[in-house]
Subunit: 180 residues, 2 copies
């Protein structure tokens, strides 16, 4: 697929959205992308919340610092997704962490998040990954049980403004032959 790299390169963080609704078929395709994400021993430790209620969104917005450039998007985008992960499953075996990193649910959620953002972009939709907020307060609002971590919020909708791509490190700056 020659234009696959164009999807990877064309995705931007979208912070302004049109009022136009997200079609149900597009949402289903995005959820299917989560379903097919790889995860530690296929543990599939994700849970996805689809939040429309304006009152809930206003409360969630209060858990985000006003300096976060995505604060408005959490309320203004037609849909808000919240990605949660089960604790102590990914990276664990028989109740014990298998590596020095402990819980791998952040790694798994990174993978699932990218599947969401790329699929959305392939459908002409925009997203922004919001990780900077008071996770415990937001989890309480969204009734996330102690067994799970609320990790990121992802506003979703048609982009009203597509920002310029931020600067990137050159490939040769981060690539090493044989050893670091």
């Amino acid at each position: 697929m020659s234009d696959f790299t164009e999807i990877i390169k064309g995705r931007r963080s979208i912070r302004k959205y049109e009022e136009k609704e997200v079609p149900e078929s597009a949402l289903q395709q995005i959820l299917e992308a989560v379903q097919w994400a790889p995860s530690w021993t296929n543990c599939q430790c994700w849970e996805v919340l689809i939040i429309k209620n304006p009152e809930t969104r206003a409360k969630i917005q209060e858990t985000i610092g006003p300096k976060n450039p995505a604060t408005k998007a959490v309320v203004a985008a037609p849909l808000l997704l919240a990605l949660c992960a089960k604790k102590e499953v990914s990276g664990y075996y028989n109740g014990q962490a298998s590596t020095k990193f402990g819980d791998w649910n952040m790694f798994d959620m990174g993978i699932a998040t990218q599947n969401i953002c790329l699929t959305a972009h392939s459908l002409g939709l925009g997203t922004v990954i919001v990780g900077l907020f008071d996770h415990d307060k937001a989890a309480e609002i969204l009734k996330v049980p102690d067994s799970h971590e609320l990790m990121v919020l992802i506003p979703l909708g048609y982009p009203a403004k597509i920002s310029r791509a931020p600067e990137r490190r050159k490939i040769e700056e981060f690539t090493h032959e044989e050893t670091f």
Copy 2:
């Protein structure tokens, strides 16, 4: 792009590879996919090692438990990628962690890894994400400095055997309306 979801759904963990080399143009496209991954405040905390040397690979293999189904692939695939992350940059502001999760480099590496795996699959190449090994021993072999974490190994090559997709949770099993 109608077949984008097919790329997401068609990616498998590949553990047996053909001897055929990975074309330089394909490797460049995969590195470009890392370059364009989103990251915490665009910190781009990734470093990619491209490992061909059979002796290095044999040493790396010793850091992986024999029960890991990807142990052989680390030596047998035409290329081995190692993804490292800078510490205390992602999720940090002025030297302080911005959230309860501390370092977000695992999340960022999850995103970058998925860009690698999807781009490889779109080019007819296979990958497998190896996270279960002795990270400190492997980091020593690969001369990864203390400022960085070696996180995952990713064998890369043309698939010799494509395994069946493992079972997936149904979308309705992991989707919640409004609250968890």
